[in-house]
């Protein structure tokens, strides 16, 4: 019995999420391999080989795989599955893995076992899948031949120096109380000081203070950083769903009745326009 983990990477470095996935995989009986598919991604394979619990790294390197399009990855996994007959194929909740694994599952007619969040983390379901032999499709398409269905056009990667919202260790988020997009600048300055990503509540996004991709909440991004700093966010259910798994929550709000204080480890009833610059200055002293 053996499992394989689809690595998250950008052809240069291994995503931190893969570490968690490998850890999860090592709870399953049998060997754990890591699958690295890309172009000139030898360094990623080397990083994967160093992870505790990894017995083997499968490194697939080809120009066709540079952009890890869904159909390419799917074909590689299907091919490897027919050879290695893994009991489990795992991926993180990265957009790449989320796109490709269900697709592969349909192709392999396979099934999963896991505990998973539903209703945006407002309910946790324990689920079980009856153990069946993984049934394989006999179709053996060559990876290269099949790489034409989806063709990569371009990437527009976030150029911000700030860490990515979904994986940042610290997130600073602003709500409607920010009053304008211009005012978000004080959060950017604070975030820079803290090495944090910047998020926003739906109210702030709807009001046009921040772009949609900054939205934290049920329909936006779900984050779980070490520290979440909520600035003038009241704490609607929608928003809490997206951040309540944060390790530590700090809330700054001038309304002492704001529901956010019920989940905050540290609360401060104060005017954000005074506190945020003060906090930035105080942290500079370090």
């Amino acid at each position: 019995q053996a499992s394989t983990v689809l690595a998250d990477h950008d052809n240069k470095s291994l995503g931190t999420s893969t570490r968690s996935t490998v850890k999860a995989a090592s709870c399953i009986k049998g060997d754990v391999s890591v699958l690295v598919v890309g172009l000139d991604c030898k360094s990623v394979a080397e990083q994967a080989a160093k992870l505790a619990g990894v017995t083997k790294v499968l490194h697939v390197d080809h120009t066709a795989f540079q952009h890890q399009t869904t159909d390419c990855l799917s074909n590689v996994i299907q091919r490897l599955q027919s050879e290695h007959k893994y009991s489990h194929i795992l991926g993180s909740t990265s957009t790449t893995a989320k796109a490709v694994l269900p697709h592969v599952a349909a192709k392999l007619e396979s099934e999963d076992i896991f505990v998973r969040a539903m209703y945006a983390g407002n309910a946790l379901a324990s689920v079980q899948s009856p153990r069946k032999q993984t049934k394989l499709l006999s179709k053996k398409t060559s990876c290269e031949a099949a790489s034409g269905a989806i063709s990569w056009v371009k990437d527009e990667l976030s150029t911000s120096d700030r860490p990515e919202l979904g994986s940042a260790p610290i997130v600073v988020s602003g709500g409607r109380g920010m009053q304008s997009g211009e005012n978000f600048k004080i959060l950017y300055t604070l975030a820079e000081q803290m090495g944090a990503a910047v998020g926003a509540s739906r109210a702030a996004v709807d009001a046009g203070f921040a772009p949609n991709d900054m939205q934290v909440g049920q329909t936006g991004k779900v984050v779980a950083p070490q520290l979440y700093l909520a600035v003038d966010i009241s704490g609607a259910i929608q928003h809490l769903a997206g951040m309540k798994d944060s390790k530590n929550i700090v809330a700054i709000n001038k309304d002492p009745e704001a529901p956010i204080f019920q989940v905050a480890d540290y609360g401060m009833v104060a005017d954000l326009f005074k506190v945020v610059p003060d906090l930035t200055k105080e942290l500079q002293k370090k």
Partner: protein
């Protein structure tokens, strides 16, 4: 004008309702709770209707799978501008957040795609109840059609589709030939509200009802729910008075 769009529409607990787990831990309590169209499905419907308004799509068909009440959600899709609807109806007790799982829904959609001769399937990236984020991907696997996920823009040019996808690191644009399956994300558009005249008009639009059991598909759930529980509740912490106190607390408790 060659597009025939099939758009998936799911009836879910309204996004603003507080989620409560049933005391016996068998699932989320859906009794007497406001239900609405899944927000990501609204975005898919809006996009389909815009394709029709731009004369790129010949027909927009909305599909919902679930209990009889899903018809309300289909009427909303029709009021937004879908031409007609198909309701694959289950019995009243079927829970669409647990009993009907992505593989089953994808198999149903696969048949409806054949029946409607759709060449573009638009789906929300996920539904806000079971949060699976799988149906579109599985459907593309079953149909062997190319797949776009997390779309924040969709351009149609003849038989070619260009899709900008929201990925963790930013945006990735891919192109593919039709027929295709595309799942949509938040930034794609802002769904319209159906106005009264359109709601009235929608009442006259046809909804074809197909009992699920006549489809002769294996739709048995693949995942068995053992229990559903409330997540651990957070406790309110302490109030701090000054910025200095806050930094001190962070230094000793968070950054130590």
């Amino acid at each position: 004008m060659s597009l025939r769009v099939l758009v998936g529409v799911k009836r879910v607990m309204d996004a603003y309702v507080k989620v409560r787990v049933k005391p016996n831990n068998t699932g989320v309590d859906l009794a007497n709770v406001k239900m609405s169209m899944n927000p990501f499905c609204e975005i898919a419907v809006e996009e389909a209707v815009r394709l029709k308004e731009q004369k790129l799509a010949a027909e927009v068909v909305a599909l919902s799978v679930g209990p009889p009440k899903c018809q309300e959600t289909l009427r909303t899709a029709l009021a937004m501008g879908a031409d007609r609807a198909i309701h694959v109806v289950t019995d009243e007790k079927t829970r669409t957040d647990m009993d009907l799982q992505p593989l089953a829904v994808a198999k149903i959609m696969q048949q409806i795609v054949k029946q409607t001769e759709a060449n573009l399937v638009l789906l929300g990236k996920q539904s806000i109840d079971d949060d699976s984020n799988q149906t579109g991907q599985i459907l593309s696997g079953l149909l062997s059609w190319p797949l776009g996920t997390f779309a924040s823009s969709i351009d149609v040019d003849g038989q070619k589709l260009t899709v900008t996808q929201e990925v963790d690191s930013g945006l990735t644009t891919v192109s593919m030939a039709l027929p295709a399956v595309v799942t949509v994300d938040l930034r794609l558009n802002e769904p319209r509200y159906a106005n009264l005249p359109n709601i009235m008009k929608a009442r006259k639009k046809p909804i074809e009802v197909i009992p699920l059991d006549t489809m002769k598909l294996d739709v048995a759930p693949r995942l068995k729910y053992l229990s559903v529980e409330e997540p651990p509740q957070r406790q309110a912490g302490v109030k701090v008075e000054t910025v200095q106190d806050l930094v001190a607390a962070l230094k000793s408790k968070v950054w130590s």
